[in-house]
Symmetry: C2
Subunit: 195 residues, 2 copies
């Protein structure tokens, strides 16, 4: 990403960390990033678009972390649980930012959804790797593409995680609650390979 765009996104992240979605006032973002409002709009179609760009940065960060310390555990379910636990921990560390990004993700705009979809693909890969237990490529790629069942399970886990996070964003449950639910889901969805 170009220098100017990055500065804009970074500023947005900073403001979102402090006060969530509403605190990201685009006039302020532009000011603090040292650009005109029009420039911001030349590079990002909307507030949601801007925050989804932040999501992309976060995804890269998550991939790096997973790469550095792959989830541990003796079974697929254990590794997946561990993966979601650390992912959840990462998100809950900056609750306002996470809430802001979640809200942007759920705007329902197809333009946005397309970018969210690419995020989902990355997550699917990470989850699949956690289930398999291998290392995979540094960019989140897999040694071989997921088969039908793997895709299904990974997608379901992702969905559960997403829904949990949305509930958490509204104050419906705690970080620990999310982790528990992901553990339940992992245990129910991932059959240790002996059938």
């Amino acid at each position: 990403m170009e220098e100017r765009s990055r500065r804009i996104v970074d500023t947005a992240v900073e403001l979102a960390e402090q006060g969530g979605f509403e605190a990201v006032r685009l006039r302020d973002v532009a000011d603090q990033a040292g650009v005109a409002l029009g420039t911001l709009y030349r590079r990002f179609r909307s507030k949601e678009d801007l925050l989804v760009a932040a999501l992309e940065q976060e995804a890269e960060e998550l991939e790096r972390r997973v790469e550095a310390r792959p989830p541990r555990g003796n079974t697929g379910a254990e590794r997946v649980t561990s993966f979601f636990a650390s992912g959840t921990r990462g998100l809950c560390r900056r609750p306002n930012l996470t809430r802001a990004v979640l809200r942007a993700m759920t705007s329902g705009d197809p333009e946005i959804a397309g970018k969210v979809s690419r995020f989902h693909d990355r997550m699917t890969n990470l989850i699949t790797r956690a289930i398999r237990g291998g290392a995979g490529g540094g960019d989140g790629s897999l040694t071989h593409p997921p088969d039908e069942t793997e895709r299904t399970v990974a997608l379901l886990l992702e969905h559960v995680w997403f829904a949990c996070l949305v509930g958490w964003a509204g104050g419906l449950h705690s970080q620990a609650g999310i982790v528990e639910q992901m553990q339940d889901a992992a245990e129910l969805l991932i059959t240790t390979d002996d059938d």
Copy 2:
């Protein structure tokens, strides 16, 4: 709900059906409902609050439908799949309304989330009834409260459904895609009772 409030909600639903979230302009809602803007705001805290009130109406409708024609099938998984299939069909019949309500549900406002939470409880009951296969009370109540496992499974199914719907709202997948994913989830999560 009082007559005036109902008229406001009905107007909002009408506008949402036509043009989704953005088409629900509160000035228009007030006009078409024949009340002043201030009155609308006396009864609903925000646009999201108004749309969540619509959600409540929809939930009641869904409960009535389920009561009239309980989901059929020989196993819990089949009945749950059928339940979600008809629920999904109902929602996809008015895509703009559904999108609008989904967006309201994901606003992240705790005030809103509380009301959404009550919706979730109702859904959990309906799902549990579908798994069990019995009739239950006409109001969606159960003959006996769900045990731990039932709650977990119902919650997970709900989460998957919700996430699917959000994806659908953004154009990421089709109605059929949702139904398939719910079937996958049901088959993986609900063990026919022989363990």
